[in-house]
Assembly symmetry: C5
Homo-oligomer: 301 residues x 5
């Protein structure tokens, strides 16, 4: 089990790592600039009959908050589903290992290697990185055959299925045990299909578009609406409001596609290692990899 | 797996494709016109004792935002369910293929063709297009018999079931393996029934009606409520608020029936090709169709 | 599959059928009357020291919108669940038919009739109408025995179960096939139990009560709060706000018990016909009922 | 199926039974009193420099409405889950009865009695009442042995399981039928475990605490914030707002623990009778208890 | 079943235990201090042209309330899932016990001890405490072997699986019964995997960060925005608003990781004892531990 250190609430107030601040710094600076422009130009543009008051911005702000809240729920649900699928991958790996150890212990090391190859291949498929090295480590020469395919992770699952089919054909396992193990392999299918669904189908593009535009325009116009009331306090309040809207917008976007390397993405490297530790230990091996730990910036990849 | 290119946030601000802007341009123009009318007629109609203030519109606007938020969640849930059903179709197809390859490899090409016919028939049924060509490609002369039926997709599923029943009657598969494969066919049933449910039962009509009316009337009256406060800034703020409300309303409507050809609908053509690639590769065929890629407007059909 | 025609957005604005307008016309009229009373009595009752301002009504209005939003989600969830249960009924009927055709084709017509009797009996039970005619059509003299019972739909399910038990006792089906078919019958049980649960247990009564009262009182007092600001525009804005609150309240109530004949209720007649078409076609019968189509008011029963 | 009479919307406006009014009458009276105090003391305490305006109360009121909405969703979800579990109890009872009638009809009366004892025991366990009488009615002398135990409902389930184990040991049922029936008994386990979970683990205490405190303090201070604007209308508006907040708070609390005797709790007596009618009729018995009907106050226990 | 005493609503208003007050006392004190500073410095800093009004804070406050509401739902969902997993642990333990008693009663005490060891090991793993004593109590010398491992809870599950595998190898249980029991063991896997997922993957760190920062800054600036309107009433209203925002924020954080010892965390000690009582009684043992009861501060650990 991967354990993350707890951070004190005071540290949290001034934390930089893990936050989305770096991504919105430029836009907050822009907002600050607009605030200063607004203070100095207020008298001039009011003489032109141009004025902005806070009332319509309140209506707009609350509406945007409701829509942002909706988008956040939806993106967070994607993140949670991704995490759940990888949790199910751990459960399915353990279950297949357990069943193989009960039914046919001599084949356990081979199945363990195939399961690890499945996990690493899924990781590389989702991150669009090269699985070559990892597959060779677990599958040896067999890896080449897999690497020539397009649906590589599915091909590895097929290897497990082929092993099971052979066992059944040789009469090593009865039809009932075959059906039970096949159901466990089906759990791998569900993890694979679920991850592919999340990765290939983002949120409808127009949602992000709509919220980006309204949040940006809102933050740009806000200083002009605040300045008649707040005058010199405009920069503080304007940047504060912009910070809460922009960072929620940015965070939602980060969670939308949780399979990358960003701070709030799934630490799939650590998860793969964790599954490996479990499978090796179930095979009574003593030489286990280290339990993954976050680096000094609290990051896991 | 289908991969979509990522668009930079700056591109997003000025993106046209994938947005719902084209659908609401006319109504935004109307809103702009009303704003100009409001500016020029303000003095005249105030002399008649007619006045509108922003306060009641704030109340109304926040209420509409809450109701719009509800409708969006609901329509997005329909979109997500549709996507999940097609994801399950991929999983079920792979599972049936895997089981057939384990149990009775000689029949695999036939079952593969039936599964592809099932996918294409479902696509055509949901889009109400003509399945003739696709069914002939996969089923040959058998297609005619299917095309004469009303529940065509279900009839194709029956073909798979009949194959399985024959295997059982001939003693090729035991009752246990029959039950296991029948459960996998049941997954196709669930995808079919689920898609039919989504397609035949839209959101209660009164929801759309109610929100269309309130959003339209709200946007029409809004300039008159803004003009006493904002004067020459009325068009900008009014069109901005109208944009966020109208586009969310339009987007929800697009997501409500996700089986069409619109930008935010399910790319069922690409999904069918993706399933085909998977099934062919599981049968060790080398001549695969190209992985579907979005066109230059980021569209997949 | 039942297909509903699409209505243009312009038609939607002025649509009457399918809306809940007819149900709230009286109360909107009342609201209009109060607005006119408010305009003419404003001067008089202000001299009495009685005044109402919009600010507390804004607070109240937004709160009511939040609570209405909650009740709508909940009632819509009931509607969706009801629709899903009937979707599952179609899936379960097809599955049982498919399995019977695979296992024991000679009994298929009898099981088909029992399944149709189950669907119609469930419809009549939920609508509290007389199932006599429909049961006689499918079951002949056997119907009398069913009609003497209290739990009629469950009794029809028992008939299917008895047929299966006989097959097993006669050694026609093995225990495994018995278990597989019994699981499919269990799906009918779940549909029946789920529908009974929805029909016998409405939303806690106090929710409807609380929202009816607050919405009604709010709409009654609203004109008096609007009139100091809006004067002659009071009727327009007041009726507009009342319309959006009252119609959402009415719609939620309609969706709460989705088994009736109202516009937004489940078209269970059409659904039964749809299941019948599917079952008959699976039995290779050519003489099918017409696919149900909405009438000219877009209604299906 | 239990049917509840429908109440007209007009009756609903003035309904007392089924509402939560009786529970909050005292606190509404308090609010009325505070309003009158506020009217008479306004001039006096304003001279002391003490003043309250509505603006911060609007902010607070909307926030509380959002939090109340959250708590309501959560408590309603508990109520729905409890109802669903009891719905599943009906489904599971019917399923076990159906399977026993198919497999071993002679034992059906004994299993029927055990199922009824399970239902009544669960009811008494959840309401913390004495199950003695009900258990004796169904189990005779066997009841004493059950009553000496702490986990009584589970002990009754064990009796069904023991019967099944005996059948298997005697070779009356095959392992497959054993597994099928054991899965049905597992459904009873899930109902029992689910109900125990709901009953033993309320909402985190701090939620109720937090909302009680804020709602009470808000309602107490509200009249002082309203009085500068509304003067003599303060009592009406203040009691109205307090009514909507307090009754939602009280209703949420009632739904949190749905296993009692309150108006909006689960009518477990009626549900037990309903299950009994179903089981007896499945055993072809004619002498059935009456279908439970609500009393003249629309109440079912 | 664990029963908690009910507390009267009046007690609730002034309750200290179980609330999150102790955690936010310091920050409320800070808010009170700022209010007093604001009152005394108002005249001075207004001369500098610095002013803050409530309007932008209303917009911000409502937005924060929406975001807080979102975070609360999400954290509460984690808490509920954790509770559900432990509820499933009880159900799975009972089910395995019931099946073992039916299949192989002589092994029941051994399996009972392994199940208890599983529960305690899971508890210690989640709380990161030392399982040594508890494991020795249930497993005797076997405990040492478990304690040398990293995935200890999984290793205990493997022990149950090994027993089952032996039974199957010795021909004591048929393949069907093996598959049925293996499915029950899979339920333990799901509980273990689910708890590990919750414990190892908190909410994305940026959410907490973002809300902490905005809530703190909001509460700090609030007195300065309230003071122009409320003057001497500022401390009361400011502390009230700060209380409702800060305590909701703190409560959400507490629920996020529900496996600790805090008031609103899962009482896993009591749950383990409850499972033990159930398992011992199913084995007809009379010497049961006491039913866990909350201490005088209503706490269970």
């Amino acid at each position: 089990m991967i354990i993350r250190p707890h951070r004190h609430w005071f540290v949290r107030l001034f934390s930089w790592h893990g936050s989305v601040l770096s991504g919105i710094m430029f836009r907050l600076g822009l907002n600050l600039l607009m605030s200063i422009v607004a203070i100095y130009c207020l008298d001039w543009y009011e003489t032109l009959g141009v004025k902005l008051t806070l009332a319509p911005f309140s209506l707009l702000g609350v509406s945007i908050a409701i829509f942002l809240g909706f988008r956040n729920s939806v993106c967070y649900a994607r993140f949670t589903e991704a995490r759940q699928l990888w949790g199910n991958l751990l459960i399915a790996s353990r279950t297949i290992m357990r069943q193989v150890l009960a039914i046919s212990p001599t084949d356990a090391p081979r199945i363990s290697a195939l399961l690890m190859a499945f996990c690493y291949s899924l990781k590389h498929q989702l991150r669009q990185t090269d699985p070559k090295e990892d597959l060779h480590r677990y599958l040896g020469d067999e890896a080449e055959e897999i690497l020539r395919r397009r649906a590589q992770t599915n091909a590895i699952e097929m290897k497990i299925s082929q092993w099971l089919a052979e066992q059944r054909r040789n009469g090593e396992v009865s039809d009932i045990v075959y059906a039970q193990l096949d159901s466990s392999i089906h759990q791998l299918s569900q993890v694979l299909g679920g991850c592919e669904r999340l990765a290939s189908m983002p949120l409808p593009f127009a949602y992000g578009l709509l919220l980006h535009r309204t949040v940006y325009l809102f933050c740009t116009l806000l200083p002009f609406a605040l300045v008649p009331d707040l005058h010199y306090m405009t920069p503080l309040v304007s940047v504060f409001i912009a910070y809460s809207f922009l960072s929620l917008d940015t965070l939602a976007e980060e969670l939308e596609m949780p399979f990358g390397y960003a701070n709030n993405h799934l630490p799939m490297d650590a998860m793969c290692t964790n599954i490996e530790i479990n499978l090796l230990e179930m095979n009574n091996q003593r030489d286990l990899p280290d339990t993954p730990k976050p680096d000094r910036y609290y990051r896991l990849t």
